[in-house]
Amino acid sequence: MSASSAFSDEKGGSASEPEYGHDPASGGIFSSDYKRHDDLKEMLDSNKDSLKLEAMKRIVAMIARGKNASDLFPAVVKNVACKNIEVKKLVYVYLVRYAEEQQDLALLSISTFQRGLKDPNQLIRASALRVLSSIRVTIIVPIMMLAIKEAASDMSPYVRKTAAHAIPKLHSLDPEQKDQLIEVIEKLLADKTTLVAGSVVMAFEEVCPDRIDLIHKNYRKLCNLLIDVEEWGQVVIINMLTRYARTQFLNPNINESLLEENSEKAFYASDDEEEEDKKAEPATLAKRKPYVMDPDHRLLLRNTKPLLQSRNAAVVMAVAQLYFHLAPKAEVGIIAKALVRLMRSHSEVQYVVLQNVATMSIKRRGMFEPYLKSFYIRSTDPTQIKVLKLEVLTNLANETNISTILREFQTYIKSMDKDFVAASIQAIGRCATNIGEVRDTCLNGLVQLLSNRDELVVAESVVVIKKLLQMQPEQHSDIIKHMAKLIDNIQVPMARASILWLIGEYCEHVPKIAPDVLRKMAKSFTNEEDIVKLQIINLAAKLYLTNSKQSKLLTQYVLNLAKYDQNYDIRDRARFIRQLIVPTDKSGALSKYAKKLFLALKPAPVLESPFKDRDHFQLGSLSHLLNAKAAGYQELPNWPESAPDPSVRNVEVITLLERVTTLTSIPDWSKCSSRKDRKEKKVEKPFYSDSEGESGPTESADSESDSGSGSASASGSDESGSGSESEESGEETESDEEEEDEEEEKKKRKKLDKTKAKKQAEESAESEQSSSAEDRKRGRKAVKNQKSASESESESESSESEEESEEESEEESESDTNVRKKRTPVLKQPPKQSKKESKKETQEMSLLDLDDYEPAPASASVTPVNFLSSSLVSDLEGLSLTDTILAPTTLAPSGSIKMYELLHRIKGEGLAVEYCFSRQPFSPEPNMVAVQIQFTNNTNSETKNLHIEDPRLQSGMRIREFAEIDVLAAGESVTVVMGIDFCDSTQAANFQLCTHTRKFFVSIQPPVGELMTPAFLTENDFKKEQGKLMGMNEILEKLTLGEKCVNEHVIVERVTATANLSRVPCGSDKECRFAGKTVSSGCLVLVTVTTKEGGGAQLTVNCEKMLIGTMLVKDILQALSQ
């Protein structure tokens, strides 16, 4: 009924002569003149936006109801360039809906979008691309392709995201573009922003899900970004990574499954089989290799785990299936809790989750056992949920909990929902077959149900009892007798048929009753259902064979009745059986075997869960739910026999290094660059392993296997701990050779290099991320090789250049100082100790500082370093890097200090007050910003008792007033310093400035850049800290450098002028890094400016305080683009 109404609706919409008068969307007012949409066309042609809007709204309402509005196309498409945003948007909606039908006219709108693609505003670019790619017109495929390619390298990540969305659209429009699109996907996969990641993986899954090789390089990045990707993207990425992991890693349960097989065998094996087993065992044991998990495999498991806490059921399910398919058996358990939580959600969610739980609970029963009670059924659950819960309960039943489950089942049998009762009885039957101990109890319970008043219940019980009896018929002849009696009362055909079959099959156990039953049945034969008739014939035949004396005539009678039955199956069966059992002249050899044919021992039916073996589908997928392959389903691959090369996932740095070496002929330069590379490689480590460090203590299992994995890769490839040692010894011999003709300083340096290498080796041994360690080592090896190559030429030069470099180009000197900085602490202590100590320090600090990111400890551990090296730094870097502790008197030198006006001299009646941020630490209270105030008395008389009164401050802010100025003589000026704790906000500090006669209300508002003090970090520390401040704490902006920002020097100057930061040495000349920490809370502020060809640049600010970060970005952008 409902279907037909909808259908007629549709007809109305698509009929050639639409009846618009009936359209309720017209709102009644216009219904009279609504014919042919003339009024709408008129409105669209008018000059008033409001009329256009009204018309578009009505058109969209028509589309929404499924009415045809295609004849308005020319009138609508004209408005594509309308200024009004809402009209524009609605036109887009219309266009996307009808463009396919009116291709030629749609082309008129294309130029508008092409123009939009060039718009300076990223959101307009994105929306233009979105609509352009949504128009399904084949002619514009080349335009779309071009637009996508361009957008894929757009500066704005949002536009790149849109490009990723456009890829599957184009692919579905024209599959021939696949190759080109894959190139774009490859490019976008390398994108580092979370915004793009989800969308591009979605495109990957739609366009080229089999190109798993594209993922290698991005695997680790995707794992690390995962938590910050939006939730829908997370689902897609996790599903894709599950497939990826299945192809790249080894089965973590491989040994366990072997073990399991063995134990299972032993458990069920009879005694004589056991010996055989023992022989087989050593063979399997020998085959078993110690399994060690690939660190990348571990990375995936670890980074997906927190997502189990997502509010989004799809994300939780995705993680759950990932763990089910990929995790070692011992770890799968953690997903149970989250899945049980989802059961509280909407019933549709429950339905899907229960389906998956049902599949999982067959394989891993133990996982859900603690949550047994969560699957108890409420009378208010929908039937489909009840049945699924029952399924899970049945799967979870075992010897220990069966009694509780059965008790629970008993209440279900009384339910009003009969379908559910039937399912419960079947569940009891399954429990009985699976668990031998309770078989009799169940059987008794079911027999009791036979006296139930509800027929359905009885019938279902009969069917289940039949199945159970088949297992051990000898002991239960009384039940069979009981059931024989029931045949008079039960009317449900299936149940009657079951009883008859039982009596026939076990007629030897009930020799007296069976013929009697046949007699009764023969009497009612004609009134029975087909299925019952067939069983009557069956019973007759069996009785004839065992007890022909009593049943011969009855059988004949039944067969005769059947011969003239209306149903041909029954007629056929009757003929067939007569030939078989009644010996005649014609009947051949078969009748001899009739007894064997009919009374063969039949195997007991196995009551299996319908969810058995469903796990060959990826869980959580549509295919799994339907238990059939859905279109586009990607098979979950089997684990590989041996692991593919894990190094494919290494992000290559070596190639870069090679390029450098080939490009540079100057040996000393090459040396420098190699050092730089090494640094960069080292930096990679915190990026990949930082989460590890933090989650380490909570996951003990993790760290265990991690350490194992380290040794595994060691045995797998020759770059092991011992390998690095030998390298070291190689270096030692080198240095020995050199020592002879090198001067004192050089020697020292070598030694330091050595200790540094040692330190590195130690670190690598410690590092759990063996792959990154490998990376580094490989890099070092390469460095070494290269070194030895260039050594002979460069040795003499390098020492000189070392000293010269200080006056040479800045960037070179920087890398040098960096080395020195690293070296300096080593000078004082053996490396191991220093490391330990710094560690201890970190810990102590972190105890005090409850902050998540621990910025303070990092900088604290660094301070001694810059304490030592500060003079050097200041020499090299100019005054901008002046250490505040060492040189408190110097002012920030870069540019002149900006003076702000506090009180104009006219307003102040001759007293002019100016202030500036001196950028010196405010010695009485280090977490206050020092404000230098200059009073100038322009009057002719002296001003007395200058002081501050009545400060009105935001909560938390404090002021340290300057000492009262007793007298300020006419025409003189005086400078004082006061401290203000702005609590890291740019809120103004309001107070009154009082003289002996007047009071002035004044306020000081700090630019954000003044709220920080320089922090001195080494390059490594910088990278490490930056690694900690990813995600929300990182702000990326593209910018075009202003005309004057031609070189690095200007950039440094501009940035340091804007914000009180110190420069961090950096190996690359394309990058300038700055670090500081906020004055009052000591949060790190890290700024990176990366310059690019053609005046472009990228600004990255990492700061835990997002507000400060955003404001700082704004300020620096302004400074740099001027």
Binding site: A3, S199, V235, N312, E348, R378, M1032
Partner: protein
């Protein structure tokens, strides 16, 4: 992914369609109608229906079926979760998600759907971003719009989509800065005939209403976070801080949102606030039955139980009920066979009792099973698990917000078997 969406009301009228890829004829819904008819109850429509060329994934919410059409493999939960998000967005925008409000605001609905999905893949689902793109209708605005013809599409381009914290829009300003948190706990329990607890657990949520200017960074800590067995968070919450310190640290979205939900499992002893004494019996002869229900307080932690309602789904043969309630009112609907007894506040001195006779269809056999009772109740100022918020701190902004925490305990799926 999601190809098309059809909205169908309870009567089977298809009143809205939206296509994100090429147009799919609405005749595809016939398969849905078929399944709908077979299911009898709307709850029993299978969420995933397979048709020869498509798959229909549907949800039933507020008496509306959201039927989406899928063509290729996609995680079903992905679609279901998205459809629920759509329904929630409608609710957020129009106050309720009903057929009439959707029809009244069909243009906004269409604009929303357009923004939420791009080519079938979710694009902007955060309410804060959507509200920047498309303004929710208010009475004032719709009046102004009709007069001036101005639009409900945001004039400014949204920035939230571009930021690293997409759930919060920039430049939020309030004169009164306030942050309120409601700790709402629901008791899910099954009690058996004798009153013993078969199963009980607590499901809690913390709903927040945060109206703070700027970019506040909040930290919420509990007195006893160990209680929480399992938690799930709004994306704004930093997982790592929770893992390491058991505090909830987040930059809140603007307005109302659910901060977290948690679960306190059956392992902890759950206090059951009320007990029910019931006696429902049907007689073999005379086609009648008797009903006697008394509700009394059990473990209420000294608070009053309010909003007490007992709902009984009677067997089909019960024609009418002739009862007498000492407190509150009862109502028996002979069509749906639901007996509702609205008690109100529970008075421990004088326990409410409902007593009387039921008349059955004559001739029909007496019902096999006694109906189970569903209890609804509410206790103000109490989180039954004992969970307590310790403090709320704000960083990043300098003003002083008003803060407040409210506790409520409710009955969730609280059932007494008889």
């Amino acid at each position: 992914m999601i190809h098309s969406l059809f909205l169908i009301n309870n009567a089977g009228d298809l009143f809205l369609e939206k296509h994100w890829k090429s147009v799919i004829s609405r005749s595809v819904c016939d398969y849905f109608f078929e399944a709908r008819e077979k299911a009898v109850e709307p709850d029993n429509v299978p969420p995933v229906i397979r048709t020869p060329h498509h798959y229909l994934i549907n949800i039933y919410r507020e008496k509306i079926f959201f039927v989406s059409v899928i063509q290729t493999e996609v995680p079903p939960l992905f679609v279901i979760e998205f459809l629920h998000r759509v329904a929630e967005t409608f609710q957020d925008y129009f106050g309720e998600c009903s057929e009439s409000t959707i029809k009244d605001n069909v243009v906004i609905v269409y604009e929303l759907l357009e923004e939420m999905l791009d080519n079938g893949f979710p694009l902007a689902t955060e309410s804060n971003i959507l509200k920047e793109l498309i303004r929710p209708p208010t009475i004032l605005r719709s009046m102004v719009n009709t007069i001036t013809g101005s639009s409900n599409v945001g004039e400014t381009l949204p920035t939230g989509q571009l930021s690293t914290i997409p759930w919060r829009r920039a430049g939020v300003k309030y004169t009164n800065n306030e942050a309120y948190f409601d700790v709402v706990e629901e008791i899910d329990a099954i009690l058996d005939k004798s009153g013993t607890t078969v199963f009980a657990e607590i499901q809690g949520v913390i709903d927040a209403c945060v109206k703070l200017s700027g970019m506040p960074d909040l930290t919420l800590s509990f007195m006893n976070p160990r209680l929480l067995d399992d938690v799930s968070f709004h994306p704004c919450v930093r997982y790592k801080r929770w893992e390491s310190e058991r505090v909830i640290s987040f930059v809140p979205p603007d307005g109302n949102f659910q901060l977290m939900s948690y679960h306190i499992s059956a392992q902890n002893l759950v206090a059951i606030p009320v007990y029910v004494k019931q006696n429902i019996s049907f007689f073999e002869t005379g086609s009648s039955g008797r009903l006697d229900i008394t509700v009394g307080p059990k473990q209420t932690m000294g608070k009053t139980v309010e909003g007490l309602v007992v709902t009984v789904h009677m067997p089909k043969v019960v024609l009418s009920a002739n009862l007498n309630a000492t407190q509150g009112t009862y109502n028996y609907d002979p069509v749906t066979k639901i007996l509702v007894w609205d008690i109100g506040k529970l008075n421990p001195q004088k326990l409410p009792n409902l007593k009387g006779s039921l008349s059955l269809q004559s001739g029909a056999p007496k019902p096999e099973e006694n109906p189970s009772l569903n209890i609804d109740l509410k206790i103000q100022q109490l989180a039954i698990s004992g969970l307590k918020v310790n403090r709320l701190d704000m960083y990043g902004e300098k003003y002083k917000p008003f803060k407040g925490v409210k506790y409520v305990t409710k009955a969730g799926k609280f059932q007494v078997r008889t």
